[in-house]
């Protein structure tokens, strides 16, 4: 959490500058962007076909390794650079029903429409607001001192590792919002209907990767099954890592609900900035992370095409400097280490002192 707190921030001026960036990007969308996403989709599908074909020859260990790696990379691209961003409506402007947030379905356990609600709406609107944004610790972990401690959290380092391996199923269950049923904030019937949709989706996913393709491979049944399992888990661990690095490393602020009262456009931008962290890296890291390595830019402009985040990142960073605002960024190793440090620390009770995050956020709000 930042030690230095800005004395006063021209929040609305900051917001106007960001609006300007947004308008510029929107006005310049065109052929180049369309070619980009179509190219990524075509490359991803060819890579997946290659991976599956190689796995058919998986009695050769190098073929197994290459096939599994290709499939894992294809699944990562499909979930992150393609699925996540298409479902955000980043490519809706193309008006291609094949690449549209309302028609897209992705290669993971959670059905797209349920995920769009919990992610696009709940998380992106109420980013890092305790009690509103369920993504804080995914309602299962304590990652902020403001969350009251409970002995169950002693086990969270263990179940966080487990969650990483089975992340897609974790997300699917998480989207059901089961923890809201006892308090009556969630209709159990509705949750049941959604659970059925999840089960139907999971069935198709499991039949594909663990029954149909292994059967097609005949004698290579087992290596294909193991290859698919490995690819799915590699994708799960990678997605978990990138996503946890987006909001939970040191420097990301947690807010309280009173912050939302009469929140202006500028204050909303400010909250998105303070609640998000970037990952430094090269082009490969950016595309493999679905450009969530530009988490700050993504949270400021969730519906701008992901290929534009790298272009606007230096401008956003310069704006933060000009307005005296923090811009949290670090290497993947540093950010992931920071997340795990937090998961381990928060497993234990305390710290008791008032959180630096909250007081600095309050200071920013007061200054604005």
């Amino acid at each position: 959490m930042p030690a230095k707190q800005p004395a006063s921030v021209d929040t609305e001026g900051f917001g106007r500058e960001l609006d300007k960036i947004r308008d510029e990007v929107l006005a310049s969308l065109g052929e180049r962007d369309a070619a980009y996403i179509r190219g990524v989709i075509a490359a991803q599908r060819k890579l997946e076909l290659t991976g599956r074909a190689l796995l058919f020859a998986s009695w050769l260990p190098p073929a197994w390794a290459a096939g599994t790696a290709a499939l894992a990379v294809a699944k990562i691209l499909e979930n992150m650079e393609i699925g996540h961003n298409v479902l955000h409506g980043q490519w809706d402007w193309m008006r291609d029903p094949k690449i549209h947030s309302t028609t897209w379905e992705w290669d993971m356990a959670s059905p797209a429409d349920q995920w769009k609600h919990s992610h696009n709406f709940v998380h992106h609107t109420w980013t890092n607001v305790l009690g509103k944004d369920r993504d804080i610790g995914y309602s299962a972990m304590r990652i902020s001192p403001e969350q009251p401690w409970h002995p169950i959290y002693l086990a969270q380092p263990f179940y966080n590792a487990l969650l990483a391996l089975f992340f897609e199923y974790g997300i699917a269950i998480y989207d059901l919002e089961l923890e809201r049923i006892p308090s009556g904030r969630r209709d159990p019937k509705e949750a049941l209907a959604q659970a059925r949709a999840v089960a139907a989706k999971i069935r198709r996913q499991i039949v594909k990767d663990y029954v149909a393709f292994p059967l097609l491979a005949g004698p290579a049944f087992l290596p294909v099954l193991l290859g698919n399992l490995t690819a799915n888990m590699a994708r799960n661990v990678w997605a978990h890592t990138i996503i946890f690095c987006g909001h939970f490393p040191e420097g990301a602020h947690i807010f309280t609900e009173d912050r939302l009262e009469n929140e202006t456009r500028g204050e909303w931008y400010l909250r998105q900035l303070l609640g998000s962290c970037n990952i430094d890296g090269g082009r490969l890291l950016h595309i493999m992370s679905g450009n969530l390595s530009h988490q700050i830019e993504h949270h400021l402009f969730p519906d701008l095409p992901s290929n534009r985040y790298a272009e606007i990142a230096p401008r956003v960073r310069a704006l933060c400097e000009r307005f005296g605002l923090p811009y949290t960024s670090g290497s993947l190793a540093r950010q992931a280490g920071s997340v795990w440090k937090r998961v381990l620390r928060m497993a234990l009770p305390g710290p008791g002192r008032p959180s630096a995050a909250d007081s600095s956020a309050q200071a920013l709000k007061a200054a604005a």
Partner: protein
């Protein structure tokens, strides 16, 4: 009746195969992968490849298109929606099919006249090269001759309004003794502007059952219904088929004295100009509800107060939880002030206000 291409229908075979293969490609369709090899193998979403472009006049061209496997054979006079990607965005327009349905090479043609300021028509006439892939709808439209065709026909066309009639003429048996008696009155600016001019003139020269009257409007002025009666004295006793600009069609329809079921018109209307000012009447087509919207209230709020079950989310234009299909009309994005909207567009109702009359599929 819609005919499938052949009894061996490769499309049906592919469909059955794809059902089984879907278990391997879920959540995508097998054709999403096949499309990587050849877009024409897709059947759910239909594509066509432009194989040739022939200039017809200085501002009109015929595109010869090989449709994908899912194409169903059209009837002469029908039209097809064509989706073209321009600057990354898909635009849909409807064009009459100018080819006869039974071409042995299985290809179809549309003949497009570049409209002044017309984004799509201009792109198709001037910037589309052989090899380009277009998105296709299915053949549609009721501007088709009955079977058997009426014995005496009168076609009145202007400009690119000749295109559906060309397909009809190709399907009529002009060489047979018991074929229909046809009068075709066609308007164009000059003889050089007549789309299919050479073909029409040679058909008329060969077959006495086809009488062709060209009206060159630059020298002779626009065709009036009175001229029609002079050129074809028995016009009210014929089965009349007219295709052209709205003013011409309205003129003819107003003066029609024959039986009500004797006149058939095909309108190709251009997008109506946006009404001045904002706000307007909003109709939600599925729920059947209607409301008056002002220029400041987003369509989401308009729908909600009218009792429509509106999907919604962040209500600030970021989550796309509220997108709905626009059936007609235009909207303004309250964030940018930009006015946009083509029929079929998915719009964000929470940040869109009505500009004039709007229909939403909800």
């Amino acid at each position: 009746m819609i005919l499938t291409r052949a009894s061996v229908s490769p499309a049906a075979l592919l469909h059955r195969l794809s059902g089984a293969a879907h278990w391997l490609t879920s959540p995508l369709l097998p054709e999403d992968y096949l499309r990587l090899i050849n877009p024409l193998w897709a059947v759910e979403e239909l594509y066509g490849r432009v194989e040739a472009v022939h200039a017809e006049t200085c501002d009109a061209a015929t595109l010869v298109i090989r449709p994908g496997l899912g194409w169903t054979v059209h009837r002469p006079g029908q039209s097809v929606r064509i989706g073209v990607d321009i600057d990354g965005r898909r635009h849909w327009r409807t064009f009459s099919l100018s080819s006869a349905p039974d071409r042995s090479d299985g290809r179809i043609t549309v003949t497009v006249k570049a409209v002044r300021g017309g984004l799509v028509s201009d792109h198709l006439v001037r910037s589309t090269m052989p090899g380009a892939v277009l998105t296709l709808g299915r053949p549609e439209g009721a501007f088709v001759l009955p079977e058997p065709p009426p014995p005496r026909l009168l076609f009145v066309t202007a400009g690119s309004g000749i295109t559906p009639v060309m397909a009809m003429l190709d399907g009529l048996r002009l060489d047979s003794a018991d074929g229909p008696d046809i009068v075709l009155v066609h308007s164009a600016r000059t003889p050089d502007d007549v789309i299919f001019g050479r073909r029409l003139r040679s058909l008329a020269a060969r077959y006495p059952r086809l009488r062709l009257h060209e009206r060159h409007t630059r020298t002779e002025g626009r065709l009036r219904p009175a001229d029609l009666a002079r050129l074809c004295p028995d016009w009210a006793e014929r089965s009349l088929w007219a295709c052209g600009p709205p003013a011409m069609l309205d003129d003819i329809a107003a003066r029609w004295i024959g039986p009500a079921d004797g006149i058939h018109v095909e309108r190709f209307s251009l997008a109506p100009a946006a009404a001045a000012g904002s706000g307007g009447h909003v109709r939600f087509t599925r729920s059947g509800r209607e409301a008056e919207a002002d220029g400041g209230t987003p369509l989401l709020a308009v729908g909600e107060s009218a009792g429509v079950l509106m999907p919604s989310g962040c209500r600030m234009g970021i989550c796309y939880g509220c997108v709905a299909r626009l059936r007609s009309g235009r909207v303004r994005d309250v964030r940018t002030g930009q006015v946009h909207g083509d029929a079929g567009d998915m719009i964000q109702t929470c940040v869109s206000v009505a500009i004039g009359k709007v229909e939403i599929e909800l």
